[in-house]
Symmetry: C2
Subunit: 241 residues, 2 copies
């Protein structure tokens, strides 16, 4: 059945309420102080792989888009993550977090210790954006609708619960919410205007579910390797005990 634009938005927000990784047990552990330093390191190291691929994902979207207005709008995301010069932008701020956690920067950037499942999930996201319709590619970014809430939980929870975490190391998260709100607003508006058939609406819903699956699978892999049963795959990061 064809939804109105507002019903579609409600449906998309409901996906966030049910499937966004804020609900994953790993995040509950992380935010409540239940993680060891090694587990926080593993999280930051693996999440670096995601952060580092975001501009590749966004450039892949720009590369397949023939509308200069959308390309210009989407280009802001490249600026947010890559900055205007070396040492600026979201990826550089993520490295301040991994530095603060005592991880060697070359090791982090090499991604040698990243869980294969993290890599596969992140690559699935990049390939999705390259291979599906532009509408689905844009819709897959809509998890940003839900990120400001998780970020405020994270900043408060991690500052309160870990003595090895400082406001400076969390600079990534301090900068992120207004960017995410602007980006999610644009993408949601685009999706509401262009998902005008049942088929397109279903594709948009599936794209957001897919993206929730990507984020969820990353935390499943972390949980398996570093929380329970702590079964680290061959070659992946091993925390100092």
């Amino acid at each position: 059945m064809l939804l109105t634009a507002d019903e579609l938005e409600k449906r998309l927000r409901a996906i966030g309420a049910e499937r966004y990784h804020r609900l994953h047990p790993f995040h509950r552990l992380l935010h409540s102080g239940g993680c060891t330093k090694g587990q926080v390191q593993a999280w930051a190291l693996n999440r670096y792989c995601y952060q580092a691929m975001i501009p590749v994902k966004d450039a892949s979207l720009i590369a397949r888009c023939d509308d200069p207005d959308i390309r210009r709008e989407w280009r802001r995301r490249l600026v947010d993550h890559d900055g205007e010069r070396a040492g600026e932008g979201g990826i550089a701020r993520w490295l301040r977090l991994t530095d603060g956690l005592g991880l060697d920067r070359d090791y982090v950037v090499s991604m040698r210790g990243v869980l294969p499942a993290t890599r596969f999930a992140v690559e699935a996201y990049v390939h999705f954006v390259r291979e599906r319709t532009l509408l689905e590619a844009i819709a897959s970014s809509l998890t940003e609708l839900f990120s400001p809430a998780i970020i405020s939980e994270r900043i408060e929870g991690m500052l309160a619960n870990y003595d090895f975490i400082t406001r400076e190391t969390l600079a990534y998260f301090v900068e992120r919410p207004p960017q995410a709100e602007r980006d999610a607003g644009f993408a949601l508006d685009y999706v509401k205007r262009h998902a005008t058939t049942v088929e397109r609406q279903q594709a948009v819903i599936a794209a957001l579910e897919f993206k929730c699956d990507v984020l969820w699978a990353m935390l499943d892999a972390l949980y398996h390797a570093y929380v329970e049963p702590r079964h680290i795959p061959p070659g992946a990061f091993v925390p100092a005990s």
Copy 2:
């Protein structure tokens, strides 16, 4: 340091001895009778996703190969998995296993219940074969070197330990070892003849490690969802309890 062809083979076999999924705790459970029927169903359902994509992977390799000899050789794999007519070949035999386990065939083929992490790992394999060099693509198939041993363990272990498993439902595994030996022999010979620089040898080693990671990550995801902590991601198969 440049290895001789025989040293390279030894190095590749050592990867199997260290990283092949035969060593994964899920396989120990599966083969020793430690799985519930629901866990065996989850394994067969998720592994179907892998089986179903193998001909897509192999056709991707043929599609990028300009040597008719290799294309012809590799075409046998399509025949093995897709058969000469409907109802024949490895995928059809895999469905006899899922049938025998009481899974609905339409549900299995739809892949709706497959773990996202399984899908991401399988897609990573297909993309690897499409995007890397032909030598790396061929090397990534070399896990077949190690499969005859795991298959004989599996047939004996599963027949002895589960009353819901019959020789007929394991037809896939009965047929597979001679095919795998032939294919692995060809691929190993190709790799030994073409990996003639240090760089190519390292790429071949990394390709086989990558493929071991794919198989390992699939079992990590199964273990997390269905063994411990039995945390099934949203939307994935839930065994009848």
